[in-house]
Symmetry: C2
DNA sequence: CCTTCAAGTGGACACTATGTCCGCTTAAAC
DNA sequence: GTTTAAGCGGACATAGTGTCCACTTGAAGG
């Protein structure tokens, strides 16, 4: 007895390896189609064994989520406490348009990452989707539109990373045109409540 | 030389095996999560060898597409030559709403199949997406809305099978409410051109 | 009938990725 | 320096994919 030990704490080598893993993964996801990046690739690039990798991240999605987290948190913060029209204060339609624009920015920077997140159709089960959904839902409610629960997922659908990637890459549309089209959707929330 | 042979024709055993494969696949897709159905399962259930299966269908998507084809063709026919509001003759907003409703019907009957179609993010490269896109685009153009090329994919996004499945299954929404929400979108196309 | 021959068949094979397991190593507290 | 458990990493078992090729069989001609 006596060996003092602080249970919740991460050992130094563990921390170092986690950093390595995230750095290597970010690099690989940027370099090539994320669906083609294997756990093995990441482990090798990070210079750690498979066991070490799996200990922390059960699959690609977990890694991509971890990488994405910082960026998503920043946007979430702005939605909750930032200045209008993104944050509270502006009318719902304008807030939704601002959200669309901000999200398009985020997608533009990290589509590969977001696509890498999706294993199967996990998009909806990820914590982040719940947040976006709650936010947009509150805007729909505030606008007085009918049946927010049905409308909210319809409004979020165009932000699916594969749709956005298709518009930008396959169709070659500039971000502005996509955002403008999304702004059109926002019109459904106002200005006059219905 | 002389062995008479008609090149384009399918041999009797080949036809029989194709029927077996499609029947087995349809059954399996209905029975369990389509992403979990392996080519091997299908081959075994159909009572054919792997080689035979791969000869005709390179992957799950090809099989699902073949199964879906009949249903999609029927809808395509109605869009092109059917009675209004689905077919030509009605104002764009009404035609879009009718299309949404019809597509929801199709999804309701065959979500599993459509989900089975998607290998990676192949949804957009399939021939059918091109058709739906062309149809909706023509409606957008007719309505006079701006930038049809950007708007069309936004309008089609909520019909992504995973979105629809999420609304119906995870959220437990009845078809009618989803269709009603989609009908809300149709309002963007009119009635008055802008 | 019987022959012919290419379309068609099916299972073995090589390959790739996944996820787990477990003996060894090492950080860190005493 | 000793002890303890967290952490490590590579070997392994498993599973699915797609290809290849020797054999079988349908169907047309003689």
């Amino acid at each position: 007895m006596s060996s003092g030990y602080i249970p919740g704490m991460e050992r130094a080598d563990a921390a170092r390896n986690r950093a390595r893993i995230l750095a290597a993964a970010e690099d690989l996801f940027r370099t090539r189609p994320p669906q083609e990046v294997t756990m093995d690739d990441i482990a090798r690039a990070a210079g750690v064994g498979r066991g070490t990798l799996y200990r922390r991240y059960p699959d690609r999605a977990a890694i991509a989520t971890a990488l994405l987290d910082a960026h998503e948190s920043a946007l979430q913060e702005k939605l909750l406490r930032g200045a209008p029209p993104l944050g509270p204060g502006a009318p719902p339609a304008e807030r939704l348009a601002a959200f669309y624009a901000a999200f398009a920015d985020l997608l533009d920077d990290h589509v590969d990452l977001v696509l890498g997140t999706e294993v199967g159709h996990s998009r909806f089960t990820t914590g982040a989707y719940g947040f976006w959904r709650a936010h947009v839902r509150s805007l729909v409610v505030a606008s007085g539109a009918s049946d927010p629960d049905a409308l909210v997922d319809v409004l979020l659908a165009p932000l699916a990373p594969d749709v956005y990637a298709y518009q930008r890459r396959e169709r070659g549309l500039p971000k502005e045109r996509v955002v403008a089209a999304l702004a059109g959707l926002s019109a459904l929330l106002g200005p006059a409540p219905r």
